[in-house]
């Protein structure tokens, strides 16, 4: 980690270890580039491994390194899991104090995979692939939640899938710009002007819940599961943008239409949620009698797949299934079994789906400024018949985040944090698994972890018959 010493004439030394291919993404906080590590012993035709480099702009003028970048790096430095994107290096551009995060490159993501099936193939994703993607997503998420991290921004474009090679078809959860550790106080989100899509947002947040719990990630997984099945976002609400922290009526209405109206009987804490309580927009009066989730996802109501989906889309965050529980669900024990390479054909002999590679805009340099001429010949992407700078990287619809009031001291969350942190773990010099401290139960959505299970350990693929 960190940078090399003095370099060449006018470029930082670290930059010279890469061959820039072009821009592949543009997000809220900066740009994402594709580069290749220069091989140690260059030879014709030899190419180094691809690396995705995410550039963070400086925060505000004159306030140093972007807090978002710091948050993302500090989380990534603590985590290490097959289904979480791997941070391989951090580089610093001293000229403008910007940070560059170098990741293992993932050729695909769920947004593009879903789009390819919807727009090009006009065919659903095969059940083996859906199940394997979902299983791996849950596996990564279970790891994060076990480490007390809530991602908070799960959506198809943030879930990467590795292209051909050693890790072909493996999911990598990415984009930790919004992620939080339980331990850190959850501050008002409107503070940092965060922007995310509302389609994957959990109902408790839409109704003004003050705390993020890991259950919000599980709601998003439910939405993504449905989207993998139908190729369409499940709850495509139109966003209200009139005020800084508007009530997202349409998004909730879309949810109610499909899942039926929530009731205080089934979701007791509903009564305490601000937007439900004051009911200025008369949401309590909406009545949708015939929930139709099974019709939308075309699953029999008795099928294990449907059972799992509805447990992820449970209104009450306390009753919502956890990642650990979901991994144990019957759905994952039935044929087809999930596998390590999610992109394999479902039947032996069946044709493998050729997903397009990421479009690369080769007219942009590392500073993000556009040059008139491409600086180098198009990379392998072009060789595979993709037009190179045809399409600009897409942008997800971006909407302002619900502003969350500060967490009051002495809430459940605080008590929970204290207990989880209860030196009980810290006191243990050997890596001995231990029971959590008392008090954890007070949290509305406690992360469950078997006390006797080491946390770095994968639960393992459900059965011995694995696909590799």
């Amino acid at each position: 980690m960190g940078d090399g010493r003095a370099g060449g004439a006018n470029r930082p030394a670290w930059l010279q270890q890469y061959e820039l291919v072009g821009k592949i993404g543009e997000g809220t906080y900066g740009l994402v580039f594709l580069a290749r590590l220069k091989p140690a012993h260059p030879a014709p035709g030899r190419r180094g491994p691809p690396i995705a480099i995410k550039k963070f702009k400086q925060s505000k003028e004159g306030d140093g390194v972007s807090p978002t970048a710091i948050r993302e790096i500090m989380l990534l430095r603590e985590i290490n899991h097959e289904n979480v994107v791997k941070l391989v290096n951090v580089h610093i551009n001293h000229a403008d104090m910007s940070l560059y995060l170098a990741f293992d490159y993932a050729e695909h993501d769920l947004y593009e995979i879903i789009r390819h099936h919807r727009e090009k193939l006009n065919a659903p994703i095969n059940p083996y692939t859906v199940k394997s993607l979902l299983w791996q997503l849950l596996n990564g998420l279970n790891y994060l939640h076990s480490n007390w991290i809530i991602h908070r921004d799960l959506k198809p474009s943030n879930i990467l899938v590795m292209g051909e090679g050693e890790e072909h078809g493996i999911i990598k959860i990415a984009d930790f710009g919004l992620a939080r550790i339980y331990q850190a106080p959850l501050k008002a989100l409107c503070d940092n002007g965060v922007v995310v899509t509302i389609w994957y947002r959990a109902p408790e947040l839409l109704l003004g819940a003050k705390h993020y719990t890991s259950a919000v990630d599980m709601w998003a997984v439910g939405c993504i599961f449905a989207e993998l099945l139908t190729l369409k976002p499940l709850f495509q609400g139109v966003e209200a943008k009139n005020t800084p922290n508007p009530f997202q009526l349409d998004q909730l209405d879309k949810i109610f239409k499909v899942l039926g109206h929530p009731t205080v009987e089934k979701w007791p804490t509903l009564a305490n949620l601000p937007w439900w309580q004051n009911d200025q927009q008369h949401i309590q009066g909406h009545k949708y009698e015939n929930p139709g989730l099974h019709n939308i996802v075309h699953l029999p109501q008795k099928s294990p797949a449907f059972d799992l989906l509805s447990k992820m889309l449970e209104y009450d965050p306390r009753k919502r299934i956890t990642a650990a529980q979901a991994l144990e669900h019957e759905y994952f024990r039935m044929d087809p079994l999930p596998g390590r390479n999610a992109l394999l054909p479902s039947q032996p002999g069946e044709k493998i789906v050729q997903y397009p590679v990421r479009p690369v805009d080769t007219t942009t340099d590392f500073e993000g400024t556009t040059s008139l001429q491409p600086t180098q010949a198009p990379s392998g992407n072009a060789a595979q018949g993709q037009s190179v700078s045809r399409s600009m990287p897409r942008q997800m619809p971006q909407q302002p985040m619900v502003g969350m009031p500060r967490v009051a001291a002495g809430t459940n969350m605080a008590a929970f944090n204290a207990a989880s942190q209860a030196g009980i773990a810290g006191l243990n010099p050997g890596n001995i698994p231990m029971q959590r401290g008392a008090g954890g139960q007070s949290h509305p959505h406690q992360l469950r972890r078997k006390a006797d299970q080491g946390m770095m350990q994968n639960p393992g693929y459900p059965q011995q018959k694995r696909r590799f």
């Binding site: 140093g64 001293h94 030196g423």
Partner: protein
């Protein structure tokens, strides 16, 4: 991470006592050698990549005396305690000072105070700690509050992050103390008077932990060990519960393969470190301060030379290329 067991702190930042002494000695020696050779410890920073170069040669430079190993140690304690003062003045949450002090300690495992001025690093640690702990304060605000040029903070932010290797999530004993006190409520369930005094026990333990933060203990022991030591000390004074029995209870509960004796040992070692702690006064520091100043002053005579150079490069660079030591 809220789980210390898999944390970068456990993996990379808990040391054996001899690791610490070796590192401090190495940094001290390196700086002393630079000083002997160049008459200054100021480093030049490459404007494009931030790479660090040796200072320009200055003739007749051998009369500047370097800080001794012990003086460096004294200086670090002095500024660590300053961190607590600054954070208290700003009424920051308690965690901020702990995180800042741990950053400061980690930073000076790799650098000598002669190479980077502890006053600057102290402020930068507080600033970065605020960013990490979601208590964002602008550099300007922070600088203003203590009448310091906030540019100093910004100039040092990157070198701090780099030295910390971007391992920014740190564990302090406070949260563990809180967890134990929570747990003690169950342990003392039957004893009403004990229950009523838990709050006092907690407070005293926190004050003791504040002192611990100024010793080497946070680089040697886990937050859980520090917390237990703090509670042990606090209970020694207040006599609220039976500490030995409590210790046994947690150990039996955790079917730990690490013997209780090991913990008793580390608790005693922590107490020893706290007992040894000597917080230098401003007066104690005067002599060291003078030396420290000399480490930089030598280069001030070529200040205008530098300016000349700089103006030539003006078209290329803005103001941030100054020395890291600013």
């Amino acid at each position: 991470m809220a789980d210390f067991r898999t944390s970068s702190q456990r993996e990379r930042w808990i040391f054996q006592p001899h690791d610490l002494t070796e590192r401090w000695a190495a940094a001290n020696q390196r700086a002393a050698e630079t000083l002997a050779q160049y008459g200054t410890t100021r480093l030049k920073v490459g404007s494009l990549d931030g790479s660090v170069h040796s200072p320009d040669h200055v003739e007749g430079s051998s009369d500047v005396k370097p800080l001794s190993y012990e003086e460096e140690q004294l200086t670090r304690v002095f500024y660590e305690q300053k961190i607590q003062e600054v954070c208290a003045a700003f009424k920051f949450p308690h965690k901020i000072q702990a995180t800042a002090i741990i950053y400061f300690k980690r930073f000076y495992l790799q650098w000598s105070v002669m190479e980077h001025h502890p006053k600057h690093i102290m402020l930068t640690c507080v600033y970065t700690s605020c960013k990490v702990e979601e208590n964002h304060v602008s550099a300007e605000e922070l600088g203003k509050g203590i009448q310091q040029d906030h540019q100093i903070i910004l100039n040092n932010e990157i070198i701090l992050l780099k030295t910390l290797d971007f391992d920014l999530i740190v564990y302090a004993p406070y949260r563990s103390i809180e967890g134990f006190v929570d747990d003690l409520e169950g342990f003392c369930r039957e004893d009403n008077s004990a229950l009523q005094r838990l709050k006092e026990l907690h407070q005293t333990a926190i004050s003791y932990a504040d002192k611990m933060m100024l010793t080497d203990a946070p680089l040697l022991y886990t937050p859980g060990q520090l917390a237990l030591a703090a509670l042990h000390k606090s209970n020694d004074t207040l006599k609220v519960f039976n500490f030995e029995r409590y210790l046994e209870t947690i150990f039996s509960r955790q079917h730990s393969d690490c013997p209780v004796e090991h913990f008793v040992q580390s608790i005693n070692a922590i107490h020893y470190l706290v007992d040894q702690l000597k917080i230098p006064t401003v007066k104690d520091m005067r002599h060291v301060d003078r030396k420290l100043k000399h480490c930089w002053d030598r280069s001030s005579h070529d200040e205008h030379k530098k300016k000349e150079k700089k103006s030539k490069h003006k078209s290329k660079r803005t103001s941030t290329d100054a020395q890291l030591n600013g």
